[in-house]
């Protein structure tokens, strides 16, 4: 496939808290021979506002996003949830708040926006990205990648092609981890009860690395595992796929 000029929507969480996930996404796409650009105007998809009941406040955030990516040929983001927001919320939010023109522009951006595994498998047509990751890994399919984007087994197909990987199935994988954005704060007790079950499932696999397509869910499950000093490393799918024999991703930390 010809080289694609990819506009990276890095997401606010990765930008501020998990820059390694962004760097891994860049490394992976460049290794596959594509050009990565990072539009400077980007901030956040606004999902936190929309899902917490402040869709009206999110309109300028949506507008900012649409303007930042208006000229992009293809937008790729290492998040199922943020891709879901762009594709399934932006235009509706704009229209519900009286900006039909913004809704149309948001639709155009949405049509060109892909979550990372969708982009790799559907657009680039690759499952073997040449990664090397000799560790026991389990994969948590995040709710929005699974049920909003319907990424299906694309991430698993990518992971299965990684050399050296010991990929183990996560029990009750499709059950939510309990994050839910501000749900984790507003309903902390219920969120924690869900987290406990997810952590038990992760620990049951004996995996050393937990991977997923969303840094937010990994922040949640990883935060719980860290509190227990469980010795499981949360790593974004992009980080596992970016890892090669020459440039391995550090797991010991």
């Amino acid at each position: 496939m010809d080289a694609v000029r990819v506009a990276l929507f890095v997401t606010c969480l990765v930008d501020g808290l998990y820059p390694d996930v962004g760097k891994a996404t860049v490394a992976l796409l460049e290794r596959l021979g594509h050009e990565v650009v990072v539009p400077r105007g980007q901030t956040c998809c606004g999902q936190m506002h929309v899902n917490t009941g402040y869709a009206g406040q999110a309109v300028p955030i949506v507008r900012n996003h649409v303007e930042a990516f208006a000229d992009a040929e293809v937008v790729v983001t290492p998040s199922g949830s943020c891709a879901g927001s762009v594709r399934h919320q932006h235009a509706d939010v704009a229209r519900a708040h009286g900006d039909a023109a913004l809704g149309d522009r948001a639709d155009r951006v949405a049509r060109r926006t892909y979550e990372l595994s969708e982009f790799l498998v559907d657009v680039l047509g690759v499952t073997d990205v040449g990664a090397y990751f000799p560790h026991r890994v389990t994969y948590h399919p995040t709710c929005h990648s699974l049920r909003v984007l319907d990424v299906g087994d694309r991430p698993l197909r990518l992971l299965r092609a990684v050399r050296g990987i010991d990929l183990v199935e996560l029990p009750a994988a499709e059950t939510c981890c309990g994050f839910g954005g501000t749900f984790a704060l507003k309903n902390a007790d219920t969120s924690t009860a869900m987290l406990a079950d997810k952590m038990r499932a992760v620990l049951d696999t004996g995996a050393r690395v937990l991977t997923a397509g969303d840094s937010s869910c990994l922040m949640h499950i990883g935060g719980g595992l860290s509190r227990l000093r469980a010795g499981v490393r949360p790593l974004h799918l992009a980080q596992v796929l970016a890892s090669t024999a020459d440039r391995p991703v550090e797991v010991a930390r």
Binding site: D15, G16, V38, H49, G53, R63, T190, G223
Partner: protein, 468 residues
Amino acid sequence: MTFLGMPALSGAPFPVAARAGLHNAQMRRNLTKATGTIRAKRASAVAELPDWAELRAAGAAIKDAVLADLGTHLLRLEAALVERGTTVHWARDAAEASRVVTDLVRATGSTEVIKVKSMATAEIGLNETLAESGIRAVETDLAELIVQLGHDRPSHILVPAIHKGRAEIRDLFRREMPGVDPDLTDDPRALAEAARKYLRHKFTTVDVAVSGANFAVADTGALVVVESEGNGRMCLTLPRTLISVVGIEKLVPTWRDLEVFLQLLPRSSTGERMNPYTSVWTGPTEGQASHVVLVDNGRAATLSDPGGRAALRCIRCSACLNSCPVYERTGGHAYGSVYPGPIGAVLSPQLTGVEHNRTLPFASTLCGVCYDVCPVAIDIPSMLVHLREKVTESRGVTAESAAMRAVAWAMSDARRWRRVLRAGRLGRALGRRRDRIGHLPPPLAAWTDARDLPRPPQQTFGDWWESR
């Protein structure tokens, strides 16, 4: 917490009410087991139909068509019912509906009624209103009977006593059921037999029955009750007076439309290809007086909101409850309504007003399972988000709304937002000692009570990219 028969008008906020369930180890075990079993059964019953997606779309489309022209269909139903000899009553709200039923029972002179399991009568708090007039309602659905004898509240739409273990049921039968064997064991068959004996006596002596209806066929006036035990059919056929309380959204236009729903409902609710008993009656049987009370109770208001009206498609199957990871852990009582779970979180606030249910729309992670399993494709997550906006609007300015506004302002401009992200570096001090953040002040303490946060990085991604 005040629990009314109708969706809660006041009660503890969901996060507080949830704690009782979360800490109840017996209930957690019961629910995990019961919902896990029913989820697996539903999944296989659905998987064996190659046209499930089409059935689901048809179910949604039929309901939407009815709702789009509800007035016409209701008048057609009324005409068909009257033509077959049924008396039709209209009720605007719960109080009116309960009063109509109470007056009808009083006119018969009976001081007892037997009941077919019905969500509509639970919603309008009928049993309580009847009791005020000295009329005793006897629930004949086994799980409803367990709840009633235990002076308890339902916690599930289909299985109202799902939170009860069989030992608890044995104890309350021994305590509350007149004439029960004092040596009753907790063997499920023995429990069912005890209930059967008790109920058989009621079926043969009580002359007034109250039912709901799963479906009402507009063009023929046929009412349909779908059940597992057959006790409903006893109530529908034996007593000389039958009063059916039916929500105005229960309509299907024609007989033919039932075909879709009689496939969708049992597979979704009990995971069966077909439920054991489907009773259909078109007008009263000989010697029987038949009444139908058509109830609005917030449905017309719900219909007026394009973002919420699809909740009226609901056929009360409970698939969303059985699949919801929140419901599974909190149990149904936390929702403070006869409609618990995801559908309750969108239905209760709409039927009684968001201002009375400000925490329910937030009682979900928006994981989307409820939408996936819904046989009439109600997009519950999007509806929850829609209702959340109504809640925040009803609250006006709060500390939360001000904080969100400030963040939105920062996020609306990349230069401003970059400065905020860079300031995140200040958080590095918090995680200096252990290379992670273990404690934060409220409201973020709700996070760090159970989870660490990573130490913020030296450099944001944006700054790394610029320096590359």
